[in-house]
């Protein structure tokens, strides 16, 4: 648990929830289709290198598989995070045992049920077997009220089908709607939608979130988090989220702009605050793409530049940062922050990592960035 102290001496206790966290395995032994498996992890590695401070870029082998111990130390020990939510991305077409596999996640969550939050996934092309598996996972892993409340829905997942390949699916298909009904029955009320470069049919825009819009309108009692705020279609995302109040901005990937590209980050935040307001924005460092330590510290030190405050009529105050960093996600997942704080005081992870309350002093010279030429 950390406290942020501003130059005027004011202190804010923070409770940080990262909604999009991974322990992946992209080591060579796990490559099923080598070109694709390698292409996937190398692309992640480029994202990391493109936006991280240099000292946070690991060697390739560590990056491909870092494991539980390192993840716990980085995220909870050094990284200021209080709770992290798994969003499995299976990619069974690329990796033997999946890129991040639900069984492994179940194991981690069973060990650390007040720190790590289990999320599963489904794919409408899995049919009845997929629904049965989901039911089983709820029975097995709903070990806290907030566990097994979310699924990651990666619509660009490739799958072998009828001897050929299917390179994606849509969230507004009748098959997907049956899964959403199953989710409703099982109390899985958070749908974490994630778009990738392919979708069926390939002539359509793979990043169009029209299908999320349709699903969110049809299931108004459920919450839909759109990962990386719809990028590369931030415009689509904002229009849709303005209409559907059950759509949330998932900041995975987007957060990482804060360090090397603060002005771009500023424009993004100004737009999110203008179109969605402060209550539907969720923090993530997207570990291990980026290390939460620098992401959180930079974000706390970040201020919206005056020209954007004036142009958009919004501000990013410490209260709003606090919401984004944890309170908003806690509401979505039904996490009782005070209850968790009590549990964390002496839990196994606190003992294992010798966790202690810390203070981050917000600097006088916050990051802002100069206006862009464009």
């Amino acid at each position: 648990m950390i406290t942020a102290e501003t130059p005027d001496g004011k202190k804010q206790d923070l409770f940080i929830v990262d909604y999009h966290f991974h322990i992946w395995n992209a080591a060579k032994e796990n490559w099923l289709r080598a070109d694709l498996a390698k292409g996937w992890i190398n692309c992640f590695y480029d994202y990391t290198k493109a936006l991280s401070p240099k000292e946070y870029v690991w060697d390739w082998d560590t990056y491909a598989y870092y494991g539980e111990e390192k993840a716990l130390k980085d995220v909870f020990g050094d990284g200021h995070v209080d709770m992290a939510i798994f969003e499995p991305q299976t990619l069974n077409y690329f990796y033997h045992k999946g890129f991040s596999n639900v069984d492994a996640i179940g194991g981690y969550v069973t060990k650390w049920p007040d720190r790590l939050v289990m999320g599963s996934r489904w794919d409408p092309r899995d049919g009845e077997a997929g629904k049965a598996l989901l039911e089983e996972q709820v029975k097995k892993f709903r070990i806290r009220p907030f566990q097994m409340r979310n699924v990651k829905l990666y619509t660009a997942e490739w799958k072998q089908e009828n001897g050929g390949i299917s390179r994606g699916w849509r969230l507004d298909s009748p098959e997907a709607f049956k899964f959403l009904e199953k989710n409703r029955e099982l109390g899985i009320n958070v749908q974490v939608a994630h778009k990738g470069p392919t979708v069926w049919p390939l002539d359509k825009d793979a990043f169009d979130i029209g299908d999320v819009d349709t699903a969110a309108t049809s299931f108004p009692d459920m919450k839909f988090v759109v990962t990386h705020i719809g990028l590369p279609r931030l415009d689509d995302f904002c229009w849709v989220a303005t209409q559907d109040k059950n759509i949330y901005a998932g900041m995975a990937v987007a957060m990482a702009f804060v360090h090397t590209r603060p002005r771009y980050f500023a424009e993004m935040m100004a737009n999110l605050l203008y179109w969605l307001g402060p209550d539907r924005i969720l923090f993530s460092a997207d570990y291990a793409l980026w290390h939460p330590k620098w992401v959180i510290e930079d974000f706390l030190n970040f201020e919206l530049p005056e020209d954007l405050k004036k142009e958009y009529g919004v501000d990013l105050t410490m209260e709003i940062k606090k919401k984004i960093l944890g309170e908003n996600a806690a509401k979505v997942w039904g996490i009782d922050i005070e209850e968790q704080k009590k549990k964390h005081k002496n839990d196994e992870l606190t003992k294992k990592l010798h966790l202690q309350p810390g203070t981050i002093r917000i600097g006088e010279a916050a990051k802002k960035g100069k206006p862009l030429a464009r």
């Binding site: 690991w58 470069p197 392919t198 049919p201 002539d203 825009d205 990043f207 279609r233 931030l234 030429a373």
Partner: protein, 262 residues
Amino acid sequence: MAEDAQAELKENVLRALSAVTDPELDEPITDLGFVKELTVSDDGRVSLDLVTSTFWCSPNFVYMMLEEARDVVSRLAGINEVRVHLDGHHDSERINKAINSGTSFADCYGAEANGNLAELNRMIRTRALRSRLHSMATALSKHGFSPEQLLDLSQQDVTSEGDSIVVTSPRGTFAISDLEDVRRVSRYLRFRERIKPSDGPLVVWDLDGNPPKRDGFRSALEEARLARANFSLNAELCRALLEARIGSNQLDPSKSRPQPQP
């Protein structure tokens, strides 16, 4: 062919390529660093090596970009053959084969696609138009033009004179000389020129040349501002990714070296 003529031909090819944009970023492929290698032989055969910022760029937009690159170069005088080669993309092999044999997107992807890319192209170009319109409106607002006053200007009221842009309006004549503002206005004008009718109002809202509604133009401009922010974010991310991608030895993990841990 003399060496000079060959160099000139290569320059013409590069100039033609600088008019090809990545549709999702609305920036020239030559500025983005996507042109990896270009050779022009003395008998007018062009070989063009392209790279995208990631292994996973959407095949449909990549296809559009490659088709356009092939076509603008093919149309040049003195060019007899164009071979395009995309490297390091998950669908490189299939796309290269189709582009070089003149196969359409629909035929290239068969049952995986529901047709060609006209609709997708219109969607993304409409956003590019609006993004550029917002940039122009920003530049003109510095000279006191309100959004509504922009709607009263015609295409001929805004002209290029030397390094400046001159705006003739009922409020008077203004010269825009700030480099960035000139660039903002020029980018819009270049796009506007391709839209018919070319002698109509300065401000158009779609690719058919229709003007926006006067009521609600300010909120339309807010949408355009969002489109601009989106293009600019994506372009910046792609530049950063391409730099990370090219400046590394990651394609062979066995060559990776331990680095200091954070």
